[in-house]
Amino acid sequence: MNDAERELDELFRAYRQSFGDVEASAGFTPGMWEKIEARRSFAFRLTRVARAFLGASAVVFTLLFTVFLYVENRPAVDPHESYLDSLASAHASDSMIEAMHGEAGEAERR
């Protein structure tokens, strides 16, 4: 270790001593608790706003999902279709044929 290094070490030591003991003032602890409380109430407000936002988001999502399901399951309507075509497409072709056969059988029996 050369002279400069020794002197630098001495300067570091003197620097430490120059501050002495640092004592807290009487207001230190009360001030700290005030800051803790202030931050706690801010965090509380933030949590409340976040919860309200989450709740509102859930309601909106449920509504949109219900509307989506309704739209998806509704039968598609062709605006150029006639009333009879609509009726025919609304009923399965098998049941239409059965109905027609049923009516024809009744007429023969009569």
């Binding site: 050369n2 430490r16 003991d21």
Partner: protein
């Protein structure tokens, strides 16, 4: 440890009285460290309060009470960093607002302040602050923790979560830089007398 591990556990579980006792035990040490890191006596308590507020809200995340002390050092160092960053920004703004005439009178008033009974101590602080201004903020704090606070490499490893060899390299480089600045700041006769200092300058 200045308090029992159980006390820290109680504080972790939300016992405010236990937290108060932890603060009372570590207050002096934390304030001393902050004073030496920020070198600004008026703001030491504010930064100290900030440290303990952060500790209060993060204590639950501490894995085990045994690592409380290095963790507290880490919190202290981080709060000091934040303070120094803010101070630098404020100082830059303030200096850019001052005219040359105002700068001269600001320097003069600083000179008057130095005439008080703390003149020698202020001189030492200013000298070291000036030498440390040649290294980065990170290295400045690392050097102070090692050389002024007296933390061992193992303790620094726990504070920084960096391996010992990497810390050694950083410390060596920072110290060499400060040493060169120190040698250069010495009066000419001393330089001539100590040939080592001259060689440092060339290195």
């Amino acid at each position: 440890m200045l308090v029992e591990a159980q006390e820290i556990e109680k504080a972790q579980n939300g016992d405010d009285a236990a937290f108060g006792r932890v603060v009372a035990a570590y207050r002096k040490r934390v304030l001393g460290t902050i004073a030496r890191l920020i070198s600004q006596p008026d703001d030491v308590e504010d930064v100290g309060q900030e440290v303990f507020v952060r500790v209060y809200y993060s204590l639950a995340r501490l894995r085990t009470p045994e690592v409380f002390e290095p963790w507290l050092y880490r919190m202290t160092v981080n709060a000091a960093y934040d303070y120094l960053r803010k101070r630098r920004r404020r100082a830059e703004r303030r200096m850019s607002d001052l005219s040359e005439q105002q700068m001269v009178s600001a320097d003069a008033s600083m000179g008057l302040v130095r005439d008080g009974e703390h003149r020698r101590q202020t001189g030492i602080r200013d000298k070291l602050d000036e030498l440390l201004s040649g290294v980065s903020e990170d290295d400045r704090i690392l050097l102070l923790l090692k050389e002024v606070e007296g933390l061992s490499l193992r303790e620094l490893e726990a504070v920084y979560h960096v391996n010992e060899n990497a810390l050694k390299v950083r410390l060596f480089r920072a110290r060499q830089r400060v040493l060169r600045a120190f040698a250069a700041s010495q009066p000419a006769p001393a330089l001539a007398k100590g040939s080592g200092a001259g060689q440092e300058g060339k290195a």
